[in-house]
């Protein structure tokens, strides 16, 4: 496809522009928290929270059959389900025992199975599963865009205000406590932000995008730098640019879902950074 034609098409199509903006905003949101997710070894948490959000949504549909999946009551049930699982994960992470990671894995698999069962039981039809997994469940409106922009700004402000304490608990939580940081409250705030981010990201984009964006940018940042500030910066730059590139490639060059292209791009970047990191380590 001609790139100029694709750009012209993009400029003339408002839906496409909305989709583009929503992907950038959710990409920004996820990649901002991604570094902390990776450093705090919570990569499975995004997967579990996302699964719980979707399970909650389908349970909501079972309870209120007349409602659409985007209605606030369904969203509330979905959010409550996601937040409860987030709290369980947070409690599990406090134990340093060998079985905690295994238990976390079992919990996440259980949630995913529950989600699939809930879709089969209460979903309208089977394709719903793929829509939530790699597609987009809704057409963006101006209001959606405002809500998403507001949520992104709010999360940014909270992270900016709590950045130093968050860094402190990532580096040495015990020392952060001695300095008077409320470690429990910060952990709670972080898990709250993560749950909100996962909910927004799943509702405005999809599940696979959310999980990928919570892991890959942070991982790449971790492989590029040893400083938290630089990691967060690299994570945001890589996250947002790969979102832009994947949407563009999906609409202009390769006729694949943009989420699949995003995962392929980020996987390639992670392999590249991992390789260069190993080479640097060997040379050192």
């Amino acid at each position: 496809m001609d790139i100029q034609y694709a750009i012209d098409q993009f400029m003339g199509d408002k839906n496409l522009q909305m989709l583009f903006l929503s992907v950038i905003l959710t990409g920004l949101l996820c990649s901002l928290l991604s570094t902390f997710v990776v450093i705090k070894r919570m990569a499975l948490a995004g997967t579990g929270i996302g699964g719980a959000a979707l399970t909650g949504a389908f349970v909501g549909i079972a309870l209120f059959p007349a409602l659409n999946i985007t209605e606030w009551r369904i969203l509330a049930i979905s959010g409550a389900s996601a937040f409860s699982v987030a709290l369980i994960i947070m409690s599990l992470k406090r134990f340093a025992a060998a079985w905690t990671d295994a238990l976390l894995g079992v919990l996440v698999i259980g949630i995913l199975v529950l989600w699939i069962i809930s879709v089969l039981q209460w979903g309208v039809e089977i394709p719903d599963l793929t829509v939530y997994l790699i597609g987009s469940s809704r057409i963006m409106t101006d209001l959606d865009l405002y809500i998403l922009s507001g949520a992104t700004s709010l999360v940014f402000i909270i992270v900016l205000f709590c950045f130093k304490p968050l860094c402190a608990i990532c580096i040495d939580a015990d020392y952060a406590k001695v300095l008077g940081n409320r470690v429990g409250l910060l952990e709670f705030t972080f898990i709250g932000l993560l749950t909100a981010t996962v909910l927004f990201s799943i509702y405005y984009v999809n599940y696979l995008f959310t999980v990928a964006m919570l892991i890959f940018p942070g991982l790449c940042g971790r492989l590029v730098s040893v400083q938290l500030r630089k990691m967060v910066f690299v994570s945001i730059i890589l996250g947002v640019s790969s979102c832009v590139l994947s949407v563009f490639l999906s609409k202009a060059i390769i006729d694949w879902p943009s989420t699949i292209i995003l995962v392929v791009i980020q996987l390639a970047l992670a392999v590249l950074f991992f390789g260069s990191n190993r080479i640097r380590a060997l040379n050192a």
Binding site: F163, D172, V178, N181, Q227
Partner: protein, 294 residues
Amino acid sequence: MSDIELLSALNDDWFEEDIPPAEAVVLHGGCVKGSPDVILYDIDLRILEGECFGIVGPGGAGKTTLLHVILGLKHLSTGKVELFSSFPTSRLRRELSIGYLPQFTEIPQNVPATLMDYVLMGLRNVRGPFRRVTRMDMLYMENLLMALHLEHKINQPVGYFSPGDQHKIQIIRALAAEPNLLVLDEPFQRLDPQGRKVLVRLLADLQRRNNATIIITAQDGEPLTAICDNIACLNHSLLWITESDQINSEVWADPCNCIPIQDEGESDEMDEFESVSEERDSYAPHNHPIQFWR
């Protein structure tokens, strides 16, 4: 000298003589129950502002727990603790400038920080969320790094340093904010003789400039005599407290089984302490036979 200057000088003398130093730490009847044993038993302790206080005792005697109680990181089962006349909460710790050296554990390799990031963490509570580190802070930090020979490694990941260097880095972090209260858990354990001298010099310097209250624990009490005003021996309960110049090297051979006694009539407090300790030791969890040493 004019009358006003004379009056002012007299007033200064009057104030200096009459205002006693405030209490930095007060512990009254402090007990911490662990499972299954008692970790701390009936601890009465008073540390004054600007004092350097040493705590000696064998491994597992409860020294770290005592420091955690003082900092408010661990709660007492019974008894009362006050830090600068307040109950030690996270808010108080934020308001005070506190330096803390935990008992040495290796820093994991995956800690996302360079040496500089790690030591700057010591400044976080005094600099607030948006304030930047000042040039003065950096100069002081550079001096500390130079004193412990780490100045040329500031950009290296902190997890990859040797255990000895990691210990020095943690000491620098504790000193970074020029704290009013400095709590050091076994700081001399991994230091070479040169490092010990440097640390003693840095602590003396901090105490002189900042009137800092310093609490240090050690298994071997000998290095403490060079810096501490008072030293206590802890083995679950406090066995003795005395001025550091009252102790000679013999006592360090077995501090838990010797009690240094001051000359008769020199201190009423000490007599009182001995009578209390006899009563208390009759029901202490670890009742050691105690030799009195003079």
